[in-house]
């Protein structure tokens, strides 16, 4: 089979031949024949022919130049130098931005709102307690008064309470990623149900599903311990960067992963979720965190289909479309649900 590149080369050769001034009626007939052979020939030729025709406009740029020497690259277009009105897309792609902001300005952006916290006072507090909430499908970045940053995932709630000797955050539900400002005198404590995660200056995420807990550490060290502990008990676990700790009714599982791999658990901040050999049922559960339109795996036969990849959590439809295209899976829309069956 002839590759598209080979076809392009042949088309270019025809064009150059026709340009040569040694072009006969017989050549014309052969070219017509070649073009009629396959649409692939035709489109390749049309494209090159149009570009070559456009190249005739180079005269407009050459007009201001004297002599018949070829001008040096980059300088010859000077008299007519113009700037492209729109920035090129490729340039934009390299623009460095904070991930959240990048995600935020994306086309499919579900609004990331700076949540106006609900304020109340707590006994012993030195500042009012502030509560931050996000709705399903919403992310929120919060700047705390100590200089720390919190990023709330979909459907999450934290309460921030500063006391004299500690910075206390209650994670009531969902997940939050913290970039903690260093302050050795005042530990930063995230309490989630019966456990707490203690940090001094570091980056980590805590997720809470009822009593189940997940902690992902991406910088520094945090301490996971029973709520209210002082760090000296035997139930404290130190989690260095790269740790992914999962705690549920069965106990605590800590994995030490390469940092890049651990960070994949935090892709939600950029608008993505990542899967790697993840059973369909788990992947669906993950995506459902971010969507009011829930996917339901009805057929147990497909619940364990392994899948991997990088998905935009704001677009469950694309996920479903691909699933039904690539796997023996059938999707049925029902109200605000998408039901998945084996096909």
């Amino acid at each position: 089979m002839v590759s598209s590149r080979q076809i392009e080369h042949i088309a270019a050769a025809w064009l150059a031949r026709r340009d040569s001034g040694r072009w006969s009626a017989a050549d014309e007939a052969s070219l017509d024949e070649w073009l009629a052979d396959a649409t692939a020939h035709k489109v390749a030729f049309l494209r090159l022919e149009a570009a070559w025709r456009e190249a005739g406009r180079l005269q407009a740029l050459g007009a201001g130049l004297s002599g018949d020497r070829v001008p040096p690259p980059g300088r010859w277009a000077q008299p007519h130098e113009v700037e492209l009105a729109a920035p090129s897309v490729s340039r934009r792609r390299h623009t460095r931005r904070r991930p959240l902001l990048r995600w935020l300005t994306g086309a499919a952006a579900v609004a990331v709102l700076a949540v106006a916290g609900t304020v109340s006072w707590q006994r012993g507090g030195i500042e009012p307690v502030v509560q931050y909430d996000t709705a399903v499908g919403q992310l929120s970045e919060v700047s705390l008064s100590d200089g720390s940053q919190a990023t709330l995932s979909s459907d999450s709630r934290i309460r921030v309470a500063w006391t004299r000797n500690r910075r206390q955050i209650d994670l009531e539900r969902g997940e939050a990623y913290f970039h903690v400002a260093k302050n050795p005198g005042k530990p930063f404590v995230v309490e989630a149900g019966k456990r707490q995660v203690v940090a001094v200056g570091t980056r980590f995420a805590v997720r809470r599903d009822g009593d189940a807990l997940r902690v992902v550490v991406t910088e520094g060290v945090v301490r996971l311990e029973p709520a209210g502990a002082d760090g000296k008990g035997s139930l404290s676990t130190l989690l260095p960067a790269g740790s992914v700790a999962q705690l549920d009714g069965n106990g605590l599982l800590v994995r030490s992963l390469p940092l890049a791999q651990a960070k994949r658990y935090l892709d939600w901040r950029d608008g993505y979720v990542s899967f790697h050999d993840t059973p369909l049922a788990s992947a669906v559960m993950e995506l459902n965190r971010y969507s009011v339109r829930k996917i339901v795996v009805v057929d147990p036969a497909i619940a364990h289909l392994p899948l991997g990849g990088h998905f935009r959590w704001s677009n469950t439809q694309a996920f479903v479309n691909l699933l039904t295209a690539a796997f023996p899976v059938r999707a049925v829309q029902q109200g605000n649900q998408v039901l998945l069956y084996a096909r």
Partner: protein, 195 residues
């Protein structure tokens, strides 16, 4: 030959080549595959348009690409799931990344100048003499003291490289971007978090 169809194909379809190429690059990392896929998309669009000219060429082009990609995915499961974000991105491409590429005259000139400056030295010389000075290939050969056959070869090369740069912004000649590189959809309408 149907000149109307041919002109339509260049005016409405090939102008979106840069966006199309970027999309395909994300889906398959082999450069030659991208080239093959692109050709296949063009073939399908051209053939369909021959029967019935689409009223919304750009949307038609990208939906054709989408179908083609989905077909491919069905055949090879390995690539499959990784491309989801890109199928998604495809919609973004239609709406945002590929703004109507109606370049005005000055922009076209700038683009051409860039394309021209990217050519290898000898090729550049030959193209200049042919297109700007309008010398016949024979005269070009005499001036440069090379054979007419060589001139013809340089013209063929120039045609290909200019087309790649002019329509594709030279995308085909760069390494494929990282598969999950951020979608180039920022800076469209930013909303700042006001925390």
């Amino acid at each position: 030959m149907d000149d109307t169809l041919d002109a339509w194909f260049i005016r409405e379809i090939v102008v979106h080549e840069a966006a199309l190429t970027r999309l395909l690059q994300r889906i398959c990392l082999q450069r030659d595959d991208v080239h093959d896929l692109r050709q296949e998309v063009y073939v399908r669009v051209y053939e369909a348009a021959g029967k019935n000219l689409p009223t919304q060429p750009k949307a038609f082009l990208f939906s054709t690409a989408r179908h083609l990609v989905t077909d491919r995915l069905r055949r090879s499961r390995v690539v499959a799931i990784d491309a989801v974000g890109d199928i998604d991105a495809l919609n973004v491409l239609i709406d945002e990344i590929s703004p109507e590429r109606r370049l005005d005259g000055r922009q076209i000139l700038k683009r051409l100048a860039d394309a021209f400056d990217q050519l290898p030295a000898r090729c550049r010389e030959v193209v200049w003499m042919r297109k700007v000075q309008e010398l016949p290939q024979k005269a070009v050969a005499e001036q440069l003291r090379i054979t007419e056959k060589t001139v013809e070869k340089q013209v063929a090369k120039g045609v290909r490289l200019i087309a790649d740069h002019f329509y594709g912004e030279g995308v085909g000649h760069r390494a494929a971007p990282q598969q999950h590189a951020s979608l180039p959809n920022e800076a469209v309408h930013g909303q700042q978090p006001t925390d």
